[in-house]
Symmetry: C2
């Protein structure tokens, strides 16, 4: 298991095939300047020995690992896994490997994950739904190519790709107003990535509809319990809204629960809209109207930005904005008269 089974090196292959190391190296990288005869001999020797090039050693000299590190703030959130899938697809298509790591939703854990990538000398790092502050991002951006997905960093050193959440919020509001709703509330995502933009978008859209006075915003979280507590606050006292726009699907599901518990019927009494349009929203038993984000595309775009950086074909920071859509399902309906 130790030295007896030592993995074969380029030297072993060279010896077995009776040629020089450099010759083997050329063959392994498909160089053309090798005679068919020797190439065959090398290939045969490699096959026999079960030789696999040592990518570690290779990258030590080439200064390229062909690996990009990806930090994911929350593995369990289906939104993120789709983004990661997009990243992986484009990466693989371009000969890159993706190394995934989670920072356990904490700035400290994520910073640690990033540091590991730096020590591993990944060619670049993609932050998905990062929770670290702009200052740290800026610092890391000077050391390694960096792109942020789903969070628009203030740093000028890095690229980012986000959904136009201001517009997403507007789509939700316009849909509800079209259904006759006027008392509309928004439960925020707290300090989560993108939460701010959604709040701004909500306020702006309500204003545009001349409903500023009737807009209510309560603090929440990107979780089911965030939605539940939001409902408690909204329906505990004062004017009750006829529609609730939650910061994401998980919070919206909390809203559904909270409403059901109070005997309020969706969508007859109150309409509910989520954000992200995850699989959850599509489940027939949940059937949630939701603002759709192009998750896989977001990941693909992030990786494409990274490739440009790695190739050195662009030095300036770029922020790509993706268009949201509204997916209408059963949780939204005409306002009660």
């Amino acid at each position: 298991m130790t030295d007896t089974t030592r993995k074969p090196t380029i030297n072993d292959v060279a010896e077995r095939a009776g040629v020089s190391k450099s010759l083997v190296s050329l063959v392994m990288r498909n160089a053309k300047s090798v005679s068919d005869h020797r190439r065959a001999a090398v290939l045969a020797a490699a096959e026999e020995l079960g030789y696999r090039p040592n990518a570690i050693a290779r990258s030590l000299v080439s200064q390229k690992t062909h690996v990009v590190g990806v930090t994911v703030s929350d593995f369990r959130n289906p939104f993120f896994t789709d983004v990661v899938e997009g990243i992986a697809t484009v990466a693989k298509a371009n000969g890159y490997q993706t190394l995934i790591n989670t920072g356990d939703r904490t700035p400290h854990g994520e910073t640690e994950a990033i540091d590991t990538f730096i020590q591993l000398r990944t060619d670049g790092i993609i932050l998905v739904g990062t929770v670290v502050d702009d200052e740290t991002i800026d610092r890391i951006g000077t050391v390694s190519p960096l792109v942020s997905a789903s969070y628009a960093s203030g740093s000028l050193k890095i690229d980012s790709v986000v959904t136009d959440d201001v517009k997403g919020a507007r789509l939700a509001v316009e849909h509800l107003v079209g259904l006759g709703h006027r008392d509309i509330a928004h439960i925020t995502g707290g300090k989560g990535a993108g939460a701010n933009r959604r709040v701004r978008g909500f306020r702006a859209a309500m204003k545009a509809e001349g409903l500023s006075e009737r807009a209510r915003v309560v603090e929440g979280e990107f979780t089911e319990s965030g939605g539940i507590s939001g409902v408690a606050e909204l329906f505990g006292s004062g004017t009750k809204p006829t529609a609730v726009f939650a910061a994401n699907d998980q919070a919206a599901i909390g809203v559904l629960r909270g409403l059901t518990a109070r005997g309020i019927v969706v969508p007859n009494d109150v309409s509910v809209i989520g954000y992200d349009d995850t699989n959850l929203a599509a489940f027939e038993h949940i059937n949630l109207t939701s603002v759709h984000q192009q998750r896989v595309l977001m990941g693909m775009t992030a990786m494409e930005l990274m490739l440009e950086r790695v190739a050195g074909s662009r030095q300036s920071a770029r922020c790509v904005t993706l268009e949201p859509r509204l997916t209408v399902r059963g949780s939204s309906g005409r306002a009660p008269s």
Copy 2:
């Protein structure tokens, strides 16, 4: 961005601090045999230069990467993400990094992912819900420490950790029988990992209850549509069961949909049980009775087995079996009289 920003090496730090490379190396690894004075000087120099040890170079000489590769057959399945979380927790606690890769649910893709890990010289590889055949597993097992989670490989070279699915199926059957059900059907998981054990367990349990004659088994899949088609087959003709045990939660949700579409009420007319006890099952709107698998523990155990292998403290293969539990929720109830 290229050579002007070259990352500082141990040499740069040594020069800056006015000491030898080996001294710096010792300090970076917290060796005690260094005078406080020099240690401080080195640390200061490293800090100024923003030096991060090159893990690539380090592992080239130490022959250890402190990285374990993890292949996940399906990222979207919450079952697997929990297993991965367990792996990552134990790995981190022991100074290991986890490199995650998906094989897109295909044997070819997964084999490719494994090959990448081998080239990267990861210290070991953990297969989560693998889809590659035993022969391939056996071959890889001779090259690298390997452990399989959720699939019990026939290979004698590798370790595995699985849930006792035979018992899990029995728990489901016993629960239903206790509620007065006698006509019970099972919708299988097709060729998916663990599907076989669940079928066997179902058959054995029904036999033990003296209900062999009334047991029905229809072919399905580990997906929602697998459940839907199963319902179509079960309720299309012949004796209709009063309870359905699906191979996993996603299929069970398909069953719920299929039943609802036919106007069959759960659990009044028919009881439904799933497998995995994922977050989905717990959603109030789904509220599915399900056989619970200790997912995080499964991942933790897998990583522990890996650590034993890496440390060389065990040469023989080991298969750990985890206990299932039944989580009772609203989708199962007394059999109609």
